[in-house]
């Protein structure tokens, strides 16, 4: 409807050139000189990542500010019991970040097999963390602590589930890289996907540490 005019031209001027990558994370691209090709895509991917992290930070900052205000304003705040498994989960998440870093180091020194091993381990630990979180929510439910039980538990569920949703995205990215790695299709062009997903993961790791402090100090 009415958009016919704009995209029907198939004219190509000038000499053929390597195509520029489109899409998210990864995939090789042709090189180009002035701000195009793989270099530009890699830079843009990093910018996009940091911008995404800024948005996530704002989301959790808003939740935090709501929590601080809600806690300060009311007399119905009862600190909720924290399931001890959270500490185990925290250790698992830290270990997964560590494994990803070891994987990146292995790749730098050319150890493709070691990279695959460490990266897969990191991914598996990430999934284990999610399973551990599910267990924590189950334990809370069994103890009768639901989302609407108390503002303290409301914020615990909101924050931990929002974090887990982010983590689901992270695990998908890590799994994508892991599958590519095992299928031996992890060329230099995938470096961006590796770096982006690892940095995103470390961010979620740091975010979780922050949330733990929040839960134990103010929750």
């Amino acid at each position: 409807m009415g958009m016919s005019g704009s995209i029907t031209h198939d004219i190509v001027h000038g000499p053929p050139r390597p195509p520029v990558e489109g899409g998210w994370g990864g995939g090789g691209g042709g090189g180009g000189s002035d701000g195009r090709g793989r270099g530009a895509f890699r830079r843009a991917s990093f910018t996009g990542l940091y911008v995404l992290l800024a948005a996530s930070t704002m989301l959790f900052a808003a939740f935090t500010s709501a929590m601080v205000v809600r806690r300060g304003l009311s007399d119905d705040w009862v600190s909720m019991p924290k399931p001890p498994i959270l500490l185990v989960n925290t250790a698992i998440l830290l270990a997964s970040s560590l494994a990803l870093e070891l994987a990146r180091r292995a790749l730098k020194s050319g150890g493709r097999a070691r990279f695959n091993g460490w990266w897969t381990a990191g991914t598996a630990l990430g999934m284990l963390f999610l399973a551990g979180q599910a267990l924590a929510w189950n334990q809370l439910n069994a103890a009768g602590v639901f989302i609407s039980t108390n503002p303290s538990s409301s914020f615990f569920y909101v924050l931990s589930v929002s974090h887990a949703v982010h983590l689901l995205g992270g695990v998908s990215a890590l799994s994508y890289v892991a599958v590519q790695a095992w299928r031996l299709s992890l060329g230099p062009g995938k470096r961006t996907a590796i770096d982006i997903s690892a940095i995103f993961w470390h961010f979620l790791d740091g975010l979780w540490l922050y949330l733990m402090v929040l839960f134990y100090v103010w929750g």
Binding site: G2, M3, G5, S6, I7, T8, H9, D10, I11, V12, H13, G14, P15, P16, R17, P19, V20, E21, G22, G23, W24, G27, G28, G30, S33, D34, G35, R36, A40, F41, R43, A44, S45, T47, G48, V51, L52, A54, A55, T57, M58, L59, A61, A62, F63, A66, V69, R70, L73, S74, D76, S148, P151, S154, V158, S162, S185, G187, P188, G189
Partner: protein, 590 residues
């Protein structure tokens, strides 16, 4: 390995890939534009129904009863129906028109072209962002058709009204839940869009396109994207909390001991409605700039082009855009002077609000400076840009009054505020869109629009909107409250009814002349004369390529920029404009 497995710039094959799930930023821009066009006519129709009801509250209209068998039983609109029209009018206009068209529509189409890129940085994300917006619109409009109808809580959705469900009104059941869901989806779409805009501007500028050589449109799209990024993330958080209050019985925003419709609400306690207001307006104020900044960019760009003069104080304009963006995050409290906030906080918010007047005035004076002594070409696009300046100044001046806590206590719940925000955020931004349409239509569709029809449309609209919204300031000062569906039986407002009738007739007139615009748009699409490459003798990069541009924008040639964006009437130059891609020797550089 390095062989690309996918590329944004294979020529798209087939109808679906070309026009529906397209990865081409130009197609996506046009999709956003038409989504906004549909929304603006929907939103306008709702406002006409509201204006009709205000002056004919007891009229029985047969098709009202057909459309709303319960809410307008017998053809007479209930106050609840009026409130739901108001809510949906505000929501659709703010989110799906003001946020969508200037940024996602024109920005998507022209940001890559103006900075010499082949596409946005993440084309798949771009497509997802549009279709997510589309889903948000479908969900929003579906609120009309569920049991109880559309929500009543206004575009600001203040709890407890928006939080406790059906008991507070017919639309507060499913309708309100859909509203919040739609807004949350919209937040997701806007975040995706913002990521794309920022990454594209930062990393995909062509050779020579330094930041300080970007057209001011690109600057406003960049700053708008930053505002959207930070603002919509917070609105998303607030929306999630509100939907939890409604659906699973948490008490983030709902206080205890509420008595609604003779019932005591027992399943909530301790929440704070003010918390919602803070979170909402932390987004809501930057949202105002999300709506208006791209219009400012288009206006700056067009005033220079059609006055054949460089933008007066380009750098000052850039810094003004940046400071408006920054200050925009520090003034949300001025929407809450009535909330009983500490007077010292109110004073701080008031001072910061006044501070925004400084960059805004810099922009206005620079626009006037740009026009001063120029050889002005009064094309329709230029007329709408001049109209933008007029509306921006008018709306801005009433803002100075509202920024004073003492005055706002009086004005806040009156038509003064309705007049103010419609002037500055509503019609000013819409004039920016009209200006953009008339200016860029030749590039987008390869056809020229009709200038005569365009000018008639401009004058009629310009007079029309002033007739609708200027009197609102006066009825507001006279104490006419807003958000009421009917004041015909209020004694102290009886004298204002003729003014209301006048505003309603002005609204009918203004809405009717928009048909001229539609005719012009679609007739020109079909039968308009063929557009040349650069009909306005503009300087920016989109005018160096055919109209409409090929699917890969620059046809494989990487543009190299040697000039600033506004080198008009440079002494010694062969023409009165120097394209950004002209060789450096044409002038003495920017």
């Amino acid at each position: 390995m390095s062989a690309p497995t996918h590329s944004a710039h294979h020529a798209p094959q087939g109808f679906i890939r070309k026009y529906v799930f397209s990865l081409d930023h130009k197609v996506i821009g046009i999709q956003y534009y038409f989504l906004g066009l549909f929304s603006v006519f929907l939103g306008m129709s709702l406002s006409l129904l509201m204006r009709f009801h205000m002056v004919n509250p007891e009229a029985k209209v047969a098709w009202f009863a057909k459309l709303w068998p319960t809410a307008a039983a017998g053809g007479m609109m209930t106050p609840e129906l009026y409130l739901s029209l108001m809510t949906m009018h505000g929501t659709i206009m703010v989110f799906f028109v003001l946020t969508t068209v200037p940024q996602s529509g024109f920005g998507n189409y022209f940001l890559p072209l103006q900075i010499g890129a082949e596409d946005m940085a993440f084309p798949v994300l771009n497509m997802l962002s549009f279709w997510t917006t589309f889903i948000a619109l479908v969900v929003m409009v579906s609120a009309f058709f569920v049991q109880g109808g559309a929500p009543l809580a206004g575009w600001t959705a203040y709890p407890p009204l928006s939080g406790v469900g059906r008991i507070t009104g017919p639309g507060e059941g499913m309708g309100q839940t859909l509203w919040i869901a739609s807004i949350a989806i919209f937040c997701g779409a806007s975040l995706m869009g913002a990521i794309n805009f920022i990454a594209t501007t930062v990393d995909l500028r062509c050779k020579g396109m330094r930041l300080m050589r970007m057209p001011l449109t690109c600057w406003t799209w960049l700053v708008t994207a930053i505002l959207a990024l930070l603002g919509f993330a917070v609105l998303l958080a607030a929306g999630l909390l509100l939907i939890l209050d409604r659906t699973v019985g948490t008490s983030f925003f709902i206080p205890g001991s509420l008595m609604i419709s003779d019932q005591i609400i027992t399943n909530h306690k301790g929440g704070s409605p003010l918390l919602w207001q803070h979170l909402f307006w932390f987004f809501g104020h930057p949202e105002v700039y999300i709506a208006i900044l791209p219009g400012m960019g288009v206006t700056s760009h067009l005033l220079a082009t059609f006055a054949r003069k460089p933008v007066f104080g380009y750098k000052a304009m850039v810094y003004a855009i940046l400071s408006i963006g920054f200050l925009g995050f520090l003034v949300w409290g001025h929407h809450m002077f009535m909330s009983g906030m500490n007077p010292y906080s109110a004073m701080a918010f008031s001072v910061l609000t006044m501070a925004i007047g400084v960059p805004s005035a810099i922009k206005t004076f620079n626009w006037i400076g740009t026009l001063w002594g120029g050889k002005i070409h009064f094309d329709t696009a230029m007329m709408f840009s001049l109209g933008f300046v007029s509306l921006f100044v008018t709306g801005g001046l009433s803002g100075i009054f509202l920024g004073q806590p003492a005055l706002d206590l009086y004005f806040h719940d009156t038509y003064f505020v309705v007049g103010h925000f419609h002037m500055i955020m509503g019609v000013a931004a819409i004039f920016g869109m009209f200006a953009g349409t008339f200016y860029w239509f030749p590039k987008m569709f390869g056809k020229m629009m009709n200038e005569t029809l365009g000018k008639i449309h401009f004058y009629a609209t310009f007079i029309g909107v002033y007739c609708i919204f200027a009197p609102m300031h006066f009825v507001g000062m006279a104490g006419n409250p807003r958000r009421y569906s009917d004041f015909t039986n209020v004694e102290y407002l009886a004298g204002l009814m003729p003014v209301h009738k006048f505003m309603t007739q002005a609204a009918y007139f203004t809405a009717a002349v928009q048909i001229l615009f539609l005719i012009n748009l679609f007739w020109s699409l079909w039968k308009g004369p063929k557009a040349p490459m650069n009909p306005w003798n503009s300087t920016s990069l989109e005018w160096t390529i055919p109209s409409p541009p090929p699917f890969d924008n620059f046809g494989g040639v990487h543009p190299v920029v040697n000039h600033g964006p506004y080198e008009f009437s440079v002494p010694g130059a062969p023409t009165d404009f120097i394209m950004q891609t002209d060789p450096p020797s044409v002038s003495s550089e920017d």
